[in-house]
Amino acid sequence: MVQLLSYLKETASQTAGPYVHIGLLPRQAGFEVFANNLGEVMVGPKTKGERVTIEGRLIDGAGVPVKDALIELWQANAAGRYHHAADRQHKPIDDDFRGWGRSGCDFETGRYCFRTVKPGQVVGRSGHRPMAPHVNLWIVARGINIGLSTRMYFADEEAANAADPVLNLIEPASRRNTLMGQRQTRDQDVVYNFDIYLQGERETVFFDI
């Protein structure tokens, strides 16, 4: 005989379905219901840091953009601190930056887009090197049974990326490139382009976090 362990089990995931926009982005579904809408604009006029746009497409196994997906982004502020009580790093909180946004892929082009700032480095797990600047992404859609977790790193942060404790876990090393957002300038705006591949030779690294 043995004592019973009394843990509960996590509720099972189910797909977000084709109409996820109704609940999470009702304006994209085609109607107005809330006074305050959550969305892709993560910065206000007083947010500190370099303004960047992060955009791209989610590509399926046939090479076609997924046009009904929803992507969320969670990141540290420009100083490298998360707006959350569990982050006790000695760095400033930015009261004008929550660090979270949500974007629906465009029904015509499949493009998602976030207006944000470039995050700073965040401390790694104890005993590990700092993590290179990165944003955390969570992807749901019709046909995706449980949300997919990945990260986008900034390709121009070559030295920090080379030392990043998470990127260095990825084998073969060539797959680390699947997490690199490429810096571009467009009409004086800084844009990081990041296409996410669900399958195929360029399949993005997804994490079990």
Partner: protein, 241 residues
């Protein structure tokens, strides 16, 4: 204040796998390489926090929050329950969002072409924060089943979609609540592809007469469990300071 400790490993045997051919859309949208297991860092144990001031007074009342010239049509319904983690602790002040079809099974979405009528007084979405104990409640109408293009004659059982944040981004979850006694459940690929039947049954919300309002509104109870956090004093520290 949330602890900084990491989450229990996710038990993937209770979740539907990514590749489920009976749900045809999953075939081209499922990663084929193994997920890379990652010990939690600050990036996973932190997550967005939302405040009550961001919500409107009718955000949790789908009978009234899109009412134009009358109330939403359908069986009046209260859905309530408690959000806990795997240790049984209530998850306080976390954002729940929910969406559903109307009583005829039609979604208010520009891509839904089902012939059933839209209800001019029903939007089909709402949101609320859990209280200090993790409890939540909202009011709506019971959604109808509807056909979908999987097999020629596929019908989804009545369901309500739920989105939850928890206290860290690794707890992020979307699921669906079903209704006790629905005969369509036995035919539904979404429900059927959950590998653990106990886990599937936990998505079926029982009728809760004690929570119903006599002569007014029936109720179903739906409790939701998010991943637990480690708590032993011998834990690996996530941060050096």
């Amino acid at each position: 204040m949330p602890r900084e400790s990491e989450f229990f490993q996710r038990d993937r045997t209770i979740h539907p796998p990514a590749f489920t051919p009976s749900y045809k859309t999953s075939v081209l949208r499922s990663p084929r390489l193994p997920l890379l297991s990652l010990q939690n860092s600050l990036s996973e144990v932190t997550g967005p926090v939302f405040g009550a001031q961001e919500l409107g007074p009718l955000d949790n009342d789908l009978i009234l929050n899109y009412a134009k010239n009358g109330e939403a049509i359908g069986q009046r319904l209260i859905v309530h329950g408690r959000v806990t983690d795997e240790t049984g602790a209530g998850v306080a002040n976390t954002l729940l969002e929910f969406w559903q079809a109307n009583a005829g099974g039609r979604y208010r979405h520009k891509n839904d072409r089902y012939l059933a009528a839209l209800d001019p007084n029903f939007g089909g979405c709402g949101r609320t924060l859990t209280d200090a104990d993790g409890a939540y409640a909202f009011r709506t109408i019971k959604p109808g089943p509807y056909p979908w293009r999987n097999f020629v004659n596929s019908w989804r059982p009545a369901h309500i979609h739920f989105s939850l944040f928890g206290t860290g981004f690794a707890q992020r979850l979307i699921t669906q609540m079903y209704f006790e006694g629905d005969p369509l459940l036995a035919h539904d690929p979404m429900f059927g592809m959950i590998p653990d039947r106990e886990a599937a049954s936990r998505l079926v919300a029982p009728l809760d007469l004690n929570a119903s309002v006599p002569l007014d509104t029936l109720a179903h109870r739906f409790d939701i469990v998010l991943r637990g956090r480690r708590s032993t004093v011998f834990e690996n520290k996530l941060q050096g300071n």
